[in-house]
Symmetry: D4
Subunit: 165 residues, 8 copies
């Protein structure tokens, strides 16, 4: 597990704001942290898989005004096979397998509710092994996964101690 400190935290917070901010700009904003250290830390966190820096595509700006969550019930012995097929579909933005009642949950984007309907009826439900789907239109996303911020008290302070929660 990565040993995360306050310097890392400050850098990540700037990168959440703007993933392409230059190291020199970051150094200016973070008084007393050198460009070199910043570059080193970004590289280290990226290599260790703590962060990735990436474009996130806004489906709404591309005309996909509707998001829908779909719960998929699958023939008892075909869960993973079906999940992989769903993940390969272009309009599907999220595929997860859960422990509980629903075998697979997905999210998809589309232009309007008819498109959701035809996509579910004509594409998803024709995948062999799918038994039942339940769809819910999602008009509001208050917080999205890529907006999650690191809880500040996870970071060790300068003396290397974790600030306990």
């Amino acid at each position: 597990m990565y040993e995360f400190d306050k310097t890392d935290l400050k850098i990540v917070n700037l990168l959440l704001e703007d993933g392409r901010m230059s190291a020199s700009e970051m150094s200016r904003r973070l008084d007393g942290i050198s460009e070199r250290l910043i570059r080193y830390r970004i590289e280290r966190m990226t290599k260790e898989g703590v962060i990735q820096i990436s474009a996130i595509v806004n489906s709404e700006a591309l005309g996909f005004g509707i998001k829908a969550d779909i719960w998929v019930e699958v023939e008892s012995d075909q869960v993973l096979e079906v999940a992989k097929k769903l993940a390969a579909l272009e309009y599907v933005t999220y595929v997860a397998c859960g422990i509980g009642q629903n075998d697979i949950s997905i999210q998809l984007v589309s232009r309007d509710t008819s498109e959701v309907y035809y996509f579910v009826t004509e594409v998803i439900r024709k995948i062999p092994g799918i038994r039942k789907t339940t769809t819910s239109i999602v008009p509001i996303v208050l917080k999205d996964v890529y907006q999650w911020r690191i809880p500040p008290n996870l970071a060790k302070n300068e003396e290397g101690e974790t600030i306990n929660s």
Copy 2:
């Protein structure tokens, strides 16, 4: 709606790979597209809200090995108030309001299943207005929202025509 073309698509695909890739590196990879155009397009897509470039924090690398989806049923007249309170919680990574059966669905991260349990029981269920919660541990996410790629046929070709789906 943003008029998305093939050049944009190529740039976004590189930025999905590495959000900090320099324009000169991108230009090298995309034969015949100048650094200047690349910089301009990135700026334009960012301003128009088609993409954002950002660090995405990997909660697992920080020790949050467990993801859980929770469906929240709320007193009939308090949905939005409760959704906002949930979005403010540190371990909560996703909050959405749906049309259908569940009032609110959230995702949270935690260190182990006991932590999920105590978080749900002692934090979430103490929020006034919450009537019932259903929790599902999510061991596998095959495709995450920020990994969604633009369907290639959305891009206009050089002649400015959309390649139809």
Copy 3:
């Protein structure tokens, strides 16, 4: 119960096509039935409540592109009071009370899914006595109530006998 015959049936079928068709036009189409009889029959069927002739407003043409069905669960002792309040709402096009699981089912029209969401959350769910709502977007109506045609074998033939089913 109205004694329905083949002449009535023919007239109603023309009125389903065009409710304002003139008696002379109907007479031309229905060889051998006089304008006078047609006018008399329309009047009789209207008076007896077998048919009503009316404009039916197409909500889609007015910009209400979305239809939603909503099932409403009500505090045990307030079903009828709540149903009346729902029927008074402008966007609500249908209100029925059922014997079974759902206390009340309604249909509403709106401009987009966000409007559905806010209408349900901010208007419907604030009505006192409503405990829970389940919403389903309805992208396709294959047959609507006002399109129902009289089963032909209900009509008595010229000799006054019912053609049995």
Copy 4:
């Protein structure tokens, strides 16, 4: 989208009352609106699909004293095929496909509850592809789809401005 004004609204309201009211009668009731304008507007609204004028058959007056709502769950890949077969049945007055939990919802009319039962058991459930039906008798319809009135504030006033809601 049709540009709906106050004159249209007044005309539609009269047609909701009586779909065969003559233009001269309407002109008398709507002070200052000429018969010609009324005829023109009715024609335009009908052509643009804003209204249709039609007989609506009262199934109760024909002896169909019982209405039932039925939710139909269909084999995953046959929703539309089944919906079309249901729409072709004589006693079925409404067929819609929804996004949510129920694949298809229909309404049927019949003479008594035994007829509902036999129709569901012997006709509907014998259609291949139907997996499950849930039936609810509907003793009260407070507001029916064809009774929906245009919300007055949708109409532009004389100066061509929409009265905002």
Copy 5:
């Protein structure tokens, strides 16, 4: 429909107490009603199917200490066939077909809960066409169907008027 009067009501109430009470005993108890009239009325009500006089077997006294209600879900097209097979089973005391969620509901008697279990698992669930069963043990029956008494205000009084409810 049988025209039920107060004399009938008094007779039925005595027969609910003891189905073999002699007409002479009944006449003694019902001041002023002759044995002959009593015999005539019993015969008439029996012939018209208003009452039947019958032994009712107490399954508990025969060692069947457990009653269970079972809801049976049946392949879509086989409800009546399955219902008949269930009615033929010796331990089954009640079989009804409902409009709603459950296809068939039955009641059975048995000696203990293991017998219920084996009967459901090894007999009922082996009937072809049965998809699912839900069982509920019934420890208390407060009122049984054969204990229903005629609401007194159904009886016409001496002047032949119904006492209205």
Copy 6:
């Protein structure tokens, strides 16, 4: 537990046919069993509670053409109180408390489906402590509780041995 033999069985079967059949008639039909024994056995079975002989009222012949099953969910701590109130209602023919999902299940009779609806909505659901009801119309009762026949192999044969199942 009553020691039931073949003679008892024969007598009960005749009483199921006609509860008022005279002992002499029974003796004629059951070759070799004396009137005295028959009278003794009927008395003994009645006293021991193995059978009761009673009028059973046919609600349909009195105009109650509709039967409905209703499942009642009750505030956690009021089940028995509510069950007793339900049993006291005139139209209610059956009240049972179950172990499983439904707190109480009742059956009621009424004249038509509107009466069911009003009875449920205005009478049953106004009883304090009732949280929710689910109603199912019952168009067919194939076998009713009072029609249950004693499984023949329960009877001891002449040598006093039980014929085993």
Copy 7:
């Protein structure tokens, strides 16, 4: 049924504390009860099946940090066959067949939630006859079956009378 007295109760309570406690130690703690009687009682209770003395393995100490409850729905006619197969699986610690909604409920232990997921998906759901599973992670067991203590008032006192509850 075993006639349980206060001496038995005292012995069992010591054995719940430590199943290998020697008879001499038990005699010391239980003033006035001889080693011989203690040995005799343990042997008798064991033979009669009132108690068994056994190691109970703590799955957590062996690295199985996760417990999960799984409800299994089985093809209508294969419940017992499937239950036996489940009981033979190494990670499965509990298998029971219930009367009610769930056909079979099991408990399993595993090292983490992914292992639960793969075990359910790849092992359990591949057993023929299993239609559906619902899994619930169990983070807290407050009282386990083997910790059940005999209700003290079940024991007869010295005079051989049961202390009534």
Copy 8:
């Protein structure tokens, strides 16, 4: 985590058979393992919490012929308080809190189904904070928690290597 080897496994297997088997008897059965080592290992495994040796009381032998599983839904903010109260009840043998749909699941023993019913209705459902209970009688337990055996491949062999699964 305890380093479990083949010797431990053999000892535990004997203790599962008879928890009071003497070390000398075990040594005789396990060729080449000394009494001293056996005693040491039992002590070590007990101290480390890998096993406990204990009497397990057989509720059936004490007249508790019925087991029932009960799922308890609790007011949103009172789960743990209610779970503790349930664990304190004498007839309750198991109490667990789950992540999923049911807040708490318990098992109880009783003498017959009426006792289950009264215990649930009069004791459990009167605990404040309990909203709903679902009960399932459990006629067959094929495998109980205390019967779980250590998967043999968990044990290291003599060379100290784990036999991998």
